[in-house]
């Protein structure tokens, strides 16, 4: 690890100003990913701006009946929050499906969104990687890629985004609020992360120096039920092979509203709008659910060793929607 400077600003404005002065600065949240990457030599910031002490650690109600989640709220606290457990169970479940208890105690909401891929080539500086060092190539395409992308990948990059939380936020139509040198703006969480294309070094649409300050959830749709299902290689502390976040409203045997997102399949949490189009207004049956999953997964382009992820995502989708329908019973 190379020597670096460390600052703890008192306000968002100060944090943003510090960052603007130093192109080699990084914001530091819980440090559960960035610090690892610094040790590995993948990241080598000259300045760490520790934002974990900023007054962004509250979860509050919005006037519209939604929730405003501060960027430094810890994953454990958010998962346990009464309003989240009652009204957004998919989010609480996704958080608890991620990492380990110790990591969730440290990890922040903003940091979780901005964690980087766990692709083994990205994390090993002795190997090529277009995301880490543009133009060096992507050995994962022909190499070890069982855990990597089946949707939305490019010639240059087949990385997946590792977050569980972000998948639930995508299904919940959350909005990410940003402060940057040019002011404030809001971005739907579904548009925060990019597909790799020919520029895989950029994970998100964040502009230089922008800081995530909060995530806002709209009110949970009336009568909806939600859940998160994740398949993984061990019972805890493993990234998703595939996961699904589902929010479903069923009335009189028909799907009134559906919102679905996949995790573990792509460079970003994958909002499944083609599936939602099939679901909306259709009878809430297994046949519909399978058709919806197929509509979305028709776009999948699995690599040599990860075709099972498509099957898994399909099964998770059908299973999750069946379960939610049974609950609506």
């Amino acid at each position: 690890m190379k020597p670096f400077a460390y600052q703890r600003p008192d306000s968002v404005a100060e944090a943003v100003r510090m960052n603007a002065e130093r192109p080699d600065a990084r914001f530091l949240g819980g440090g559960t990913n960035l610090v690892d990457l610094m040790k590995l030599g993948v990241e080598s910031p000259g300045l760490l701006i520790d934002v974990s002490g900023l007054p962004l650690d509250q979860v509050t109600a919005t006037d519209e009946g939604g929730l405003r989640i501060g960027a430094t709220v810890r994953n454990s606290d958010l998962a346990a929050h009464r309003a989240v457990r009652d009204r957004y169970p998919v989010l609480s479940q996704a958080l608890l499906a991620g990492a380990s208890g110790q990591l969730r105690n440290a990890a922040t909401t903003g940091g979780n969104l901005l964690q980087r891929t766990r692709c083994p080539y990205f994390q090993d500086t002795s190997k090529p990687c277009n995301k880490r060092t543009p133009g060096t190539g992507c050995p994962a395409r022909e190499g070890v890629h069982r855990d990597l992308a089946v949707l939305g990948h490019s010639e240059d990059c087949v990385a997946t985004h590792p977050s569980d939380m972000a998948v639930a936020l995508a299904a919940l139509d959350a909005t990410v609020h940003l402060h940057g040198p040019e002011g404030e703006r809001a971005v739907p969480v579904t548009e925060l992360h990019r597909l790799p294309g020919d520029d895989p070094g950029r994970d998100t649409v964040l502009r230089p120096g922008e800081l995530i300050t909060e995530v806002v959830l709209p009110p949970a749709p009336g009568g909806s039920a939600s859940l998160y299902r994740k398949a993984r290689d061990r019972a805890s502390y493993a990234f998703a092979l595939a996961s699904v976040a589902a929010v479903l409203t069923v009335r009189d045997g028909r799907v009134q509203q559906a919102s679905l997102a996949f995790g573990g399949l792509a460079h970003r949490p994958w909002r499944a709008r083609a599936a939602e189009d099939v679901l909306r207004g259709a009878p809430a049956t297994e046949e519909t659910f399978a058709r919806a999953a197929d509509a979305e997964l028709a776009a999948a382009r699995p690599l040599r060793d990860n075709g099972f992820k498509v099957t898994l995502a399909r099964r998770l989708t059908v299973g999750a929607l069946k379960e939610l329908t049974a609950r609506a019973g």
């Binding site: 690890m1 190379k2 020597p3 040790k39 030599g41 380990s100 766990r118 083994p120 090993d124 500086t125 002795s126 190997k127 050995p139 022909e142 190499g143 070890v144 069982r146 299902r229 398949a231 993984r232 290689d233 061990r234 019972a235 805890s236 502390y237 493993a238 990234f239 092979l241 099972f308 099957t311 898994l312 099964r315 998770l316 299973g319």
Partner: protein, 697 residues
């Protein structure tokens, strides 16, 4: 100090438990001399070839970097029995991850930054790293690990298989596995006035001392190796590892204490692994399930540095009666890191294959798998014809079946559902040999009635101090609280390695002998002088003695699994083992060892997967986030029981080893249960969801 003597077997609490849970027990990297330097190993980033140039200027320019050791300036080593220790001696790169330099600095961070700044140029050669069943470079070695002949044949297995009314022919595949003890391999070395003192995370510091003595041309009396506390090893610390040589080199070069810790990401290349295997098992039986022929053929890999052959076909020489048998190993030397010992080498991989095949035979015949095993109990060791000193596999199976609730099991596969779960049960046998290595010990009686026993045993987390105190106390006729145990230093009477499940038997025999001799001396009358009385003993003779008996521990594993019918995720709801391992000397620490082995077997069955990267020649899963050892959530109801054996042909304590047998049959029992739950017979570990998906409803 007047507690009543306790019988051997009592659940005595670990002596150093409090030190460990309060953090005061110091491990090899925690001996902080104020002037200590830190060494960072720089691994080769090519798979095959040689170093053509190392440019150190940028590394040396990093603040606080003290020295860069390379093959150009490192001390020349004398003899290294194990070629993996001949580091920084020449430019050759036998595999990716081989050390090409050690950066030594005032801080760990500076050493690491220096390593990043080092420029190494290579000349690369083609490489070949992937084992296949028909790899052209497979050859039959002389011996497999443990000194076993590579090939053994009795009768005519081919002819008997051809003639058998019922046959099984199945091939089982496993990738590499990694020991990954919680404490990584670490050494702190210092030279003081010609004496080398090393704190090393090792399973046997006498061996480390002897190795350093040859490598550095020193007399054994000039070296002290200390391994007071060791955070696990599972075989990977059973032989000295490169970090101890590098720490000693760097300390000699700099004249200061140097600490070298192998980074978790470098461990897979430097500390051994369980070699991948492709195992073909053929069984021929009559219609009652009585075996006529057993054929077990193993293909595995080794490195270009040394030959290590995982002896996976060896347990088939012990397990079941059969008039015809062929057990054979072949190995290919590839451009891969050197494999080595990992908990129950040979037995763990071999019994996965053999016990899966036995289950396939039971299914083919419609015979209960417990009953099938009982029908093939041998009267003597099949391969050698020697009588067993004791063999209670049948009792383990019967007792395990009773405790588990096996009776009345419906053999029909894929026939039990509970909500989304498919349920199944499976059984497998386990075996592990009884080994004894020579050790020495001293027993000292003090005037105040207390005793001190010295032996260079190593506690790798098993409770060695505690059980040796029990053994000594029993021989001395005193309470174990009256006995001080001094272990973990090569200055003590020479002890054997904590490996091969032989530690307690080997050290304990020496301790018992010394303590018994001391009792005799004290019984001769007279008073204990102020300096006390010390008696020493060694067991060269006992260890060299060839037993007329075949001596093995046996066990039976029972597993109940639930397979998620949606995702293929497997959960082991219950795991129950029953063992026959002589006399159990401490029921508390023994249970921990059995259970620990079973958890490791659960990992081998379900979660631990290691991928050899064909392009780069390294193991892809290089941290504990990606190499999946079982988490607490994976381990639900786990039980270990045992059957007391009174076997007079073992050692004075009547004990067999228990450190490894817990892993041996576990993976097969779980695999067999998965087959019972789903109908899918998977023959490649680990049983991850991707492998189950094609077979789900």
């Amino acid at each position: 100090m007047s507690h009543a003597p306790q019988p051997l077997g009592a659940p005595v609490v670990r002596r150093e438990g409090r030190e460990k849970v309060t953090g005061t027990a110091r491990y090899a990297a925690e001996h902080n001399a104020p002037d200590r330097l830190y060494g960072w190993i720089v691994p080769a980033t090519v798979t095959s070839g040689r170093v053509t140039a190392i440019r150190t200027a940028d590394a040396l320019a990093v603040p606080d970097v003290h020295t860069v050791l390379t093959h150009e300036n490192a001390p020349s080593l004398g003899e290294t029995d194990d070629p993996i220790l001949a580091v920084l001696q020449n430019a050759r790169i036998p595999h990716r991850g081989w050390p090409v330099a050690l950066v030594v600095a005032e801080t760990l961070e500076a050493a690491r930054a220096g390593a990043e700044a080092l420029h190494v140029d290579y000349e690369t050669a083609d490489h070949d790293v992937v084992l296949t069943a028909d790899h052209p470079r497979l050859y039959t070695p002389e011996e497999a690990n443990g000194g076993f002949p590579a090939v053994r044949e009795r009768g005519d297995a081919e002819a008997a298989l051809a003639a058998a009314p019922v046959t099984i022919d199945a091939t089982y595949t496993m990738g590499g596995l990694h020991n990954h003890p919680m404490e990584p391999h670490a050494s702190t070395a210092r030279w003081t006035e010609g004496h080398l003192t090393v704190h090393d995370s090792s399973q046997g510091s006498t061996t480390v001392r002897d190795t350093l003595s040859k490598a550095f041309g020193l007399d054994g009396s000039q070296i002290t190796v200390l391994s007071r506390h060791v955070g696990g090893g599972f075989g990977s610390k059973g032989t000295p590892r490169p970090q101890v040589v590098l720490a000693a080199m760097a300390s000699r070069h700099t004249g200061r204490p140097v600490q070298v810790v192998v980074h978790r990401r470098h461990m897979a290349a430097l500390v051994g692994h369980r070699a991948p295997t492709v195992q073909r098992v053929r069984l021929g039986a009559d219609r009652n399930g009585v075996l006529r022929a057993v054929s077990h053929e193993v293909a595995t890999h080794t490195s270009r540095v040394k030959e290590f052959v995982e002896q996976a076909a060896v347990p088939a020489r012990v397990m079941y009666a059969s008039p015809h048998s062929r057990t054979a190993h072949r190995v290919a030397a590839l451009d891969v890191p050197s494999p080595s010992w990992m908990r129950a080498p040979g037995e763990a991989s071999g019994m996965y294959a053999l016990e899966s095949a036995m289950d396939e035979l039971a299914c083919a015949l419609g015979v209960d798998p417990v009953e099938l095993r009982l029908r093939n109990e041998p009267s003597a060791e099949p391969d050698s014809g020697r009588p067993f000193s004791s063999r209670n596999l049948a009792a383990c199976l019967t007792e395990g079946a009773r405790r588990f609730g096996w009776h009345g099991r419906d053999p029909q596969p894929a026939a039990r559902e509970e909500g989304p779960w498919l349920l199944g049960t499976g059984v497998a046998s386990a075996t592990y040999p009884v080994l004894l290595s020579p050790s020495a010990a001293s027993a000292h009686a003090a005037q105040d009635g207390s005793y001190t026993v010295r032996v260079n045993a190593t506690d790798i987390g098993t409770g060695a101090r505690t059980v040796l105190a029990q053994i000594a106390a029993a021989a001395l006729g005193t309470a174990q609280e009256n006995v001080t145990i001094d272990i973990g230093s090569s200055d003590l009477p020479a002890g054997s390695v904590a490996g091969g499940s032989s530690g307690t038997a080997s050290w304990g025999t020496a301790v018992h002998k010394a303590a018994t001799a001391l009792v005799r001396r004290l019984g001769e009358g007279g008073t204990v002088p102020p300096e006390g009385i010390t008696v020493t003993a060694d067991t060269e003779e006992e260890a060299a003695e060839e037993s007329p008996y075949a001596r093995h521990a046996f066990g039976a594993h029972f597993a109940e699994v639930a397979v998620d019918s949606l995702t293929g995720e497997v959960r082991v709801r219950r795991l129950l083992g029953v063992y026959a391992a002589g006399r159990i000397l401490n029921s508390r620490t023994a249970r921990s060892q059995f259970i620990g082995g079973m958890v490791m077997g659960l990992g081998m069955a379900l979660t631990e997967g290691s991928t050899m990267d064909p392009a780069f020649g390294d193991f892809t899963e290089s941290d504990l986030a990606s190499y999946h050892v079982p988490s607490c959530a994976d381990v639900l109801d786990i039980q270990a029981h045992w059957i007391d054996e009174d076997d007079p042909h073992l050692n004075p304590m009547g004990s067999k080893g228990i450190g490894e047998i817990g892993i041996v049959g576990t993976a097969a029992a779980i695999g067999n249960a998965v087959r019972h739950a789903t109908g899918a017979r998977l023959r490649e570990l680990p049983l991850t969801p991707d492998k189950l998906l094609p077979y789900l409803p």
